[in-house]
Amino acid sequence: MDTDKNAPEQIKSRVEVGVPGVRLEVVVNGSPCAQHSLVVDREHALLAAKFLKEDPAYRMDYVSNVTGVDWPETTIKEIVKTKEVVDGVEREIERTTEKKKSGFLEAVYHLYSMELKHGPVILRIRTENRAEGNHLPSLTPVWRGAEFQEREIFDLYGIVFDGHPDLRRILMWEEFKDYPMRKDYVEPDDYEYEPTPHDDVLEKAKKHAEKVLTTDGH
């Protein structure tokens, strides 16, 4: 297996030929492992997955891992230095611009080929947003092994996989309403006395003490 074939650009161009209309984007991983990935659009994700599985050059027949990522809404501060003439003197002025980046949820698929013994190819699918638009196409019809892991992502991140044969919570109970792996998850206040609280636990202890004082002080 030549290394070029596994380069994300190669996969991208190959999939673009096989699945017309697909929108792919390469996400470069700058760390030493250099495990680059491909973002595939929601509408064509199922077709792209089928193509990668059936294409004789790739034969991605094994999904080793499916995981979720929560990208909350963030504000990006950019400092732009400009030279302006103020009172006849040229000065450097710093302007900060704040850009709001909307949040989304992401499912990441790590694909390998047992037949051709190569991989991984990493697919990412992103939801529209973190509220109502939390739907993604399920890849379980392509890889049966993704079933439980997609259920786990549904359970902990709240991504709804359309086309999943049995989408239920898998770790938490059915009545549970929260998504514990999301960044904005608030856990139930069941803090207990600790002799030497520190760091996060100290924060928790203070909040708990305030809550007890404001309610009943049991």
Binding site: L171, M172, W173, E174, E175, F176, K177, D178, P180, Y185, E187, P188, D190, E192, Y193, D200, V201, H218
Partner: protein, 204 residues
């Protein structure tokens, strides 16, 4: 019976005892545990029951597959919030007199998962625990020590009067409410009759 008279009689070859002693002696030497494990502590529990540590020396080797036949529940391992109602239900199904050993850091307090959203911070929040064993996991010797402590506890139980145990007191309920799955946590988060959150007393 007077201790001096008893020893005098035993010298003459007459063995005397009380019903209480006989009853407790029989019970403490045939504690049948319920055969279930929740996590890695169960491996130590299994090791304890095998030939090297030999739980059979204490008459407790008969791990029962049914709670109806068990006297002792060894909560061996992490109790997740999803599992907690089932553990309480199993405890309710055991016939009196019944005892509980909470084995390992997780079963007594939540252990390394104490800060987690999904782990119960000690099974003593829902059912009365007789013996707590710390350790992660406790060694088989620790479990044997817990069993011996439980035997001592059973031996010291009085069958009549104010201090009689729960199973001989008809006024005390023997069943404990099973928690329900709530939207964010178990409901209720603890059984107030069994466990209260520790209150910090500051001397200002």
């Amino acid at each position: 019976m007077d201790e001096g008279l008893r020893s005098e009689l035993s010298k003459q070859g007459i063995f005397t005892t009380t019903l209480e002693d006989l009853y407790n002696w029989g019970r403490k030497n045939s504690i049948w545990p319920l055969g279930f494990g929740l996590a890695c502590c169960a491996i130590e529990m299994i090791a304890t029951s095998m030939a090297r540590y030999d739980l059979a020396r204490f008459g407790a080797e008969v791990f029962r597959p049914s709670p109806r036949q068990a006297d002792l529940m060894i909560v061996a391992g992490t109790v997740t919030k999803k599992m907690a109602p089932q553990v309480v239900r199993l405890y309710n199904q055991m016939p009196e007199p019944k005892y509980v050993i909470a084995m390992g850091a997780c079963a007594i307090s939540g252990g390394p998962f104490k800060q987690g959203y999904n782990v119960l911070k000690g099974i003593d929040r829902y059912i009365p625990v007789d013996i707590h064993i710390p350790g992660c996991p406790p060694r088989p010797e620790a479990l044997l020590h817990a069993l011996m402590t439980l035997q001592q506890k059973i031996d010291e139980q009085v069958l009549t009067g104010e201090r009689r145990p729960r199973h001989l007191n008809a006024d005390v309920p023997g069943e404990f409410p099973v928690p329900e799955y709530g939207e964010h946590d178990l409901v209720p988060t603890n059984n107030p009759d069994v466990w209260q959150p520790p209150a910090l007393v500051r001397e200002d």
